[in-house]
């Protein structure tokens, strides 16, 4: 997967890195079980401290997106977590996104189009 990090952005690098990997998994650019670079390799290529990458990897691990093995390094998790906690988190996010859309005058159909686009679905099923 190829992704970009904006070094002058106000969003911290570890957050950008976490978001890019989640986006890659969601889009299918990163497949379940696919090996990820080690903390050192990624830190060398981004040009940041190992701690920054480690922080992103620990967040991704705690969220269940990746698995970290001492011998084999980091991999995309084969099965993503399917828990209630995530559902609550997602509902909160969607509620906020829907409220912001309404406040900006976006119609439900348009909002649904955006959702489909984000899901990679172009036409109504």
């Amino acid at each position: 997967m190829i992704f970009h990090l904006n070094m002058s952005s106000e969003t911290p690098i570890y957050v950008q890195l976490r978001n890019q990997i989640v986006l890659g998994i969601g889009r299918g650019d990163l497949l379940p079980g696919e090996a990820l670079p080690t903390v050192r390799q990624l830190a060398e290529d981004i040009g940041v401290n190992n701690m920054t990458v480690n922080k992103a990897y620990q967040i991704l691990k705690s969220e269940g997106y990746i698995e970290i093995d001492r011998r084999h390094g980091a991999k995309v998790a084969k099965h993503q977590k399917d828990d209630k906690e995530f559902e609550v988190y997602l509902k909160d996010k969607m509620e906020l996104a829907a409220a912001e859309a309404k406040a900006h005058g976006i119609e439900l159909t348009q909002f649904m189009d955006y959702c489909r686009e984000a899901f990679g679905v172009n036409e109504e099923a």
Binding site: I2, F3, H4, L5, N6, M7, Q20, P37, L42, D45
Partner: protein
């Protein structure tokens, strides 16, 4: 001209040849760039740009020819004074590199200004870092193993199996330590450069990970092989020099020349290797449909890298990725530049003063309550009870003395030397002058003479008187 003159003449030619090859490449359209400015092939055909490029090529050709001629001419004063010739050589070397760099930067800035003025854009203007996860994952397997450096280090163990070599090292411990220290430092530098290139940021050339891996593998594997091979041949050249020193008792003209030629071949080999790697990478990218053209011109506008969004201090030069350059947006880059600049200037100034003193300050002798030899950098005081006998020779004896801590030119030999089977001696000898005063001390011999008539004879008489008291 002597060994030193030949070494410097060859070094000068190698410098000019390297600059010739490198800066001629910069004036050719390669990897979407010409003179360090990102442009499309169509944009380069613009009349104004073509006119500027022609001017660059003309100017560059003129200064390269001047370089070849002056590089040889600057060595001529070696016939008379080594110090003046060395100072001239250093001024030439730094001045010439600065001049060629200045011509490049001047035309680079002009081309960038034309690009801006005409509103030419080509490629993606980046203010972000691109990561290819598959590429980063594969990066460690790209360079050859550092274990390949072992043969270049083990070469030096071969002569140690010889008893004569071990004895030579032990009897010339100080010089041997300096020699071994230099070898260790050179080998460590090769390893350091290897690691710097192995660990540097992977380059994303394309939207296709396989192409990125192939290009980076060609670059990193190619460079690591170049460093391993260069290190091995470097060891062989040092080995030959060491062998020459041991077999002949001191470095010979042939030995030193072989060493210099070998070093030149290594440098040229590295340049050829670099060009081949670049060509191979270009051929891979030529077949790529997703090539990523990146416009980083803004960060190189002054001819030097200045990117506040890049955390790295050392970055690969965009013209030649075998060169490293500093990111001038970081304050530490200015500290390093100033430190290296001032350090080099102080070192050169000190060397120049030492060399000038050796050439122009004569050795003088004083016989009072001690025998004092006042010489530039190598003064010595001798107590009378240390002296076993003194004698006056018509000329300097035909002995082969190898330098330990001293200065030796075609004109003079000053400082500490080593005579095979006799041990350490001190020489204060101006070649072609007589008589020569020979002093036998408890543990060494000293040979002195003077350019002035009568000085040595007077000294001899005074010493005789003191010793008979």
């Amino acid at each position: 001209m002597g060994i030193l003159g030949v070494i410097l003449a060859v070094t000068n030619l190698v410098v000019v040849v390297c600059m010739h090859i490198s800066f001629r490449q910069y004036g050719k359209y390669k990897e979407h760039m010409i003179l360090g400015v990102t442009l499309s092939e169509e944009q380069v055909k613009d009349d104004e740009i073509q006119c500027l490029l022609e001017k660059y090529r003309k100017s560059f050709r003129k200064y390269i020819i001047i370089g070849y001629i002056t590089g040889i001419l600057v060595i001529i004063p070696f016939e008379w004074y080594v110090s003046i010739a060395l100072i001239l050589y250093l001024v030439w070397m730094f001045g010439y590199i600065f001049l060629i760099q200045h011509i490049y930067v001047k035309y680079h800035k002009k081309l960038y200004a034309i690009k801006k003025q005409k509103g030419y854009t080509y490629g993606k203007i980046v203010n972000e870092i691109t990561i290819d996860t598959k590429l980063s994952y594969a990066k460690d397997k790209m360079p050859v193993s550092p274990g390949w450096f072992l043969p270049s280090m083990l070469v030096f163990l071969i002569p140690l199996s010889n008893k004569g070599v071990r004895e030579f090292i032990l009897s010339n411990l100080q010089m041997s330590c300096v020699f071994i220290g230099v070898i260790v430092l050179v080998k460590a530098s090769y390893l350091l450069i290897y690691y710097m290139f192995a660990k540097q940021r992977s380059q994303v050339y394309s939207g296709n990970s396989d192409i990125n891996i192939a290009c980076n593998r060609v670059t990193k594997r190619g460079y690591s092989i170049v460093f391993v091979v260069a290190s091995f041949f470097d060891s062989i050249s040092f080995f030959m020099l060491l062998w020459d020193e041991i077999a002949m008792g001191s470095m010979t003209m042939v030995g030193v020349l072989l060493f210099v030629v070998m070093q030149c071949i290594i440098v040229m080999g590295m340049v050829v290797g670099l060009i081949q790697i670049k060509k191979k990478r270009e051929s891979i990218l030529a077949e790529d449909s997703q090539e990523r053209v990146v416009d980083e011109d803004e960060f190189w506008a002054t001819g030097f890298y200045r990117n506040p969004m890049d955390n790295r201090l050392l970055v690969p030069d965009r013209q030649s990725d075998m060169n490293m350059t500093l990111n001038m947006a970081k304050p530490s880059a200015w500290i390093w530049t100033a430190g290296i600049g001032i350090g080099t200037a102080v070192l050169l100034l000190w060397t120049s003063v030492v060399m000038l003193r050796l050439d122009f300050v004569p050795v003088t002798y004083q016989v009072a309550d001690k025998f004092e030899i006042i010489a530039p950098s190598y003064s010595k005081t001798i107590e009378f009870d240390e002296i076993q006998w003194v004698t006056l020779l018509d000329e300097f004896p035909d002995i082969k003395a190898s330098k330990q801590n001293g200065a030796a030119t075609d004109e003079y030999a000053l400082g500490r030397f080593h005579i095979r089977n006799e041990g350490t001696c001190y020489l204060y000898i101006y070649h072609g002058y007589s008589p020569v005063l020979e002093l036998q001390l408890n543990d060494m011999k000293i040979y002195c003479n003077s350019r002035e008539d009568g000085v040595i004879q007077e000294c001899y008489q005074q010493l005789q008187e003191k010793l008979s008291e």
